[in-house]
């Protein structure tokens, strides 16, 4: 939990949940496991606010609780989860992926679950149906069954999973046998995967249609009240909450990155083959596996989409007969390409040449670098020293004599991929935090203007709803002058740009994080 990470987490929490939660959250992240009293005292917030924010954090999986360090009798301790907060940055990407795979329904389902943290299936289905109905034309509404089918598809492909059951409280622990429960004395909370029913849909049938929400419909028919009561009846799946399976989404992103890399390196056909191989092993490999399962050429050939008519001989030529992807190597290559591209954009193509040279040849002397890279000595020296000062390149001393006399020592330049990747990852976090801060700053600067435009929009909307004449509308519109309108446009443009750049930097973060995690698990 570096300073940059904590800063970024604080900004994200503030944007999504507000100031109080942000304060509690950053305190948790900085301070490790703490119990309720400590949090309340150190952050000077009233106890009930602390409780509420902790509820919010737990609901979203940011905070875990477990029994205290001094054994089962001590007060419960809460722990913040930094990684989970950083996932918030990636929500747009998850939603977009769901949209491409499962259409609008899927997109809305994932969006709802992300927003609420944990939700029951029936709740989700109802909300999504209502939302979809709201966007459809008059007179049509969304069938629950369609939403349910999308939901089940998401569960089948493991994009959604059940939340792990909550551990028993400390008082009940002694009576429970260790065989049936995880004893609360263990500090690690149960993971979602440990539940064998993790991907089983609850046996409920939901029938009905989405309700259209009318803004002027205050006086509901008496039937509406009854309907509301019926909706709040238990649908048989109380207590079964669903959450988004982030690991599965990450697997999907990783596969996409590998496929596009193969496509640009070899050609379209090979990338299709790789895509099929990866898809077939989607559900069978764990997220941290180094290799996908071996697949025979027959299976691959059968599962290829029919419009790619490749004859068997070509498939055989394209790779080994039992195909197996080395995921670690693929991730390492992608991370290496990322590092190289950063050096290239930042320092120029010649420095990039030196960087790639050092990556390949591991250790080189100054003279050898100049010779291999075919760059004049003075310029090469300059570039190497710049890279050294940015810590992208390290110097290794090999003494010839026991007294490390500089004239009798070899100085070798080298690049270590893993530490450099970590360094760049921290840079990325700082960059995203900078972008968010700039966005907040821009919004604050133009707060007056934004408020004014909002007021005018509200006035316009109310006038239109109550049927006003065109002259009144234009009069209201003219309350915003032309330069102000331009400023507003520019502001909107800025904020969009900052937002989209955050997402792009997040892609880099994802690649580097996957690489670092894959090396840790070896």
């Amino acid at each position: 939990m570096t300073a940059q990470e904590v800063r970024l987490c604080g900004l994200l929490l503030q944007e999504h949940f507000g100031e109080v939660v942000e304060r509690i959250g950053t305190h948790l992240l900085r301070g490790g496991a703490q119990n309720l009293r400590t949090i309340a005292n150190e952050t000077n917030t009233p106890l009930d606010l602390v409780k509420k924010s902790l509820c919010v954090l737990v609901q979203h999986g940011v905070c875990d609780f477990g029994s205290g360090r001094r054994g089962p009798g001590s007060p419960v301790e809460y722990r913040g989860n930094c990684e989970r907060v950083l996932r918030i940055l990636r929500y747009p990407r998850y939603i977009y992926t769901a949209k491409t795979l499962y259409g609008d329904t899927g997109e809305l389902i994932v969006e709802e679950v992300l927003q609420r943290g944990h939700m029951t299936m029936s709740n989700t289905v109802k909300t999504v149906a209502d939302r979809l109905t709201h966007n459809m034309e008059e007179g049509r509404s969304m069938e629950y069954s369609e939403v349910v089918s999308s939901f089940s598809k998401l569960v089948e492909t493991h994009f959604l999973q059940r939340c792990p059951p909550v551990a028993e409280t400390a008082t009940a622990a002694p009576s429970a046998t260790p065989a049936t429960h995880r004893t609360p004395a263990s500090v690690t909370p149960p993971t979602a995967e440990s539940n064998p029913d993790c991907y089983k849909l609850p046996p409920v049938t939901l029938t009905g249609r989405g309700k259209r929400r009318r803004s002027s419909d205050d006086g509901e028919e008496p039937g509406g009240v009854k309907k509301a009561k019926m909706d709040s009846e238990s649908c048989g799946d109380e207590g079964i909450y669903w959450q988004v399976n982030f690991e599965r989404f990450h697997q999907h992103f990783r596969d996409q990155a590998i496929i596009s890399a193969v496509a640009s390196k070899l050609d379209q056909t090979s990338s299709e083959i790789v895509r099929t191989m990866l898809r077939m092993s989607e559900v069978t490999t764990t997220p941290t596996a180094a290799y996908t399962q071996p697949l025979s050429a027959n299976e691959i050939f059968r599962s290829l989409p029919p419009n790619y008519s490749i004859s068997r001989p070509i498939l055989d030529q394209g790779g080994s007969l039992t195909g197996r992807s080395d995921l670690h190597r693929a991730l390492a290559n992608l991370a290496r390409a990322t590092l190289e591209s950063v050096v290239q954009e930042r320092f120029g193509s010649r420095s990039a040449r030196i960087f790639r040279l050092l990556l390949r040849k591991r250790h080189l002397e100054q003279k050898q670098v100049e010779d291999f890279a075919m760059i004049p000595a003075k310029e090469a020296k300059d570039m190497l020293y710049t890279l050294l000062s940015e810590n992208l390149v390290q110097l290794q001393e090999i003494p010839k004599t026991p007294d490390h006399a500089p004239s009798r020592t070899f100085y070798l330049y080298t690049v270590n991929q893993l530490p450099t990747a970590r360094l760049l990852l921290q840079h990325c976090y700082k960059t995203v935090a900078n972008l968010i801060e700039r966005r907040l700053f821009e919004t604050k600067e133009n707060k007056r203007l934004l408020e004014k435009s909002q007021r005018i929009e509200a006035i316009l909307a109310s006038l239109q709803a109550s049927g006003a004449e065109p002259e009144q509308l234009t009069e209201v519109e003219e309350m915003i002058t032309a330069p102000e309108r331009q400023q507003l446009e520019a502001l909107r443009h800025h904020i969009n740009k900052l937002d989209s750049t955050e997402n792009q930097v997040d892609e880099t973060i994802f690649l580097l994080e996957s690489y670092i995690i894959s090396t840790k698990s070896k």
């Binding site: 290559n333 591209s341 291999f372 075919m374 760049l424 960059t431 801060e437 750049t501």
Partner: protein, 339 residues
């Protein structure tokens, strides 16, 4: 090598001051009366040496002239050595005496022993040349003497000084008619101690264009993927031929030069290389292998981090919220947002 025998006669110096008539062939003109008393042995030895242009050992001399005692033999050898007619070499079985080339023999007339010593040291350094300090170590002569001798030899056009590329102030000396070695002048990429970067750049681009066009032709041919891939490869020999035909280089480039250029393209990430086994004798193969090169696309687009100004910012580490440089007042961001 000049050998200092224990029984070097003082007359050696005397002989070296004699002027020798220019000998273009190896006819023995030693029979001129000017040669001193024990010339018969010397002449015999001389003739013997002529018979064996590759050199003779002590054993051979003994066999041929059994009447010669060891000391007399040594004196004769020394005489010829000091006259500069013989070369003393050492091989695995002992000492070897060899006829010196007549041309070089004539050059040394008028030089004294020290100069000859220095000359021999420089000659031994071959075409890499030797630094003046190393000459001093090898010959154990004081610095002033060395400098005088070097100036002398240079004026006689026997040696020349070549500036080294590695250290621009260092001068190495080598024989006048030798071509300096590549490591000293830097080979084809250096002209007068200057690295020709534009030349390298031009070659770089030409090679890359050639490989790229080959890859495109292969891709457009729409054959099966493996055939496409194979036909987009080019051997280093093909690239070399293409560059030679282009004629953009005034210096002759060897295949190794082209390979160094192709290696820089690999380090640019634009080209990849594989090595295949090739039969000896096929065009362009070196030690039973051939190197194939192929143009490639980068495997990812420029990464997300560099799309933000922070990724390229030179003062990234100084940037803090609330400081002089902060995201709120960042000039780079302001410019970038208005773009």
């Amino acid at each position: 090598m000049v050998c200092i025998f224990k029984n070097v006669t003082p007359l050696a110096e005397h002989y070296s001051k004699l002027t020798f008539p220019h000998v273009s062939t190896k006819t023995v003109q030693l029979t001129s009366g000017k040669i001193a008393i024990k010339s018969s042995n010397t002449i015999l030895l001389y003739e013997l040496c002529q018979q064996f242009p590759h050199g003779i050992t002590d054993q051979v001399i003994q066999n041929d002239m059994p009447h010669l005692e060891a000391q007399q033999r040594a004196m004769a050898i020394n005489r010829l050595l000091s006259l500069g007619q013989l070369d003393l070499l050492r091989n695995s079985s002992g000492l070897l005496y060899r006829m010196k080339d007549a041309q070089t023999a004539s050059k040394m007339k008028g030089s004294d022993n020290q100069e000859k010593l220095v000359y021999q040291v420089i000659e031994d350094a071959g075409n890499k040349g030797i630094w003046s300090r190393d000459i001093r170590y090898k010959s154990n002569l004081p610095l002033t003497e060395i400098n005088k001798i070097l100036k002398n030899l240079e004026s006689k056009k026997l040696i020349k000084a070549v500036k080294s590329v590695a250290a621009s102030k260092k001068k190495v000396y080598m024989l006048y008619n030798l071509q300096p070695d590549r490591s000293v002048t830097g080979g084809a990429w250096y002209s007068d101690q200057d690295f020709e970067s534009e030349f390298v750049e031009v070659l770089n681009q030409q090679c890359f264009k050639f490989l790229q066009s080959k890859a495109e032709v292969a891709r457009d041919s729409k054959q099966s993927p493996m055939v496409q891939r194979n036909s987009s490869f080019a051997t280093s020999h093909e690239v070399w031929k293409y560059i030679c035909e282009l004629g953009i280089s005034k210096v002759d480039l060897s295949m190794e030069d082209i390979e160094t250029i192709l290696n820089t393209l690999i380090y640019d990430g634009k080209v990849e290389m594989t090595i295949i086994a090739a039969k000896e004798g096929t065009v362009g193969s070196v030690d039973g292998q051939m190197k194939l090169y192929r143009g490639v696309n980068p495997i990812i687009q420029p990464t997300g981090l560099v799309k933000a100004p922070c990724g390229l910012c030179p003062v990234f580490d100084d940037c803090h919220e609330g400081g002089e440089i902060s995201p709120s007042n960042c000039v780079y961001m302001a410019e970038w947002l208005d773009f």
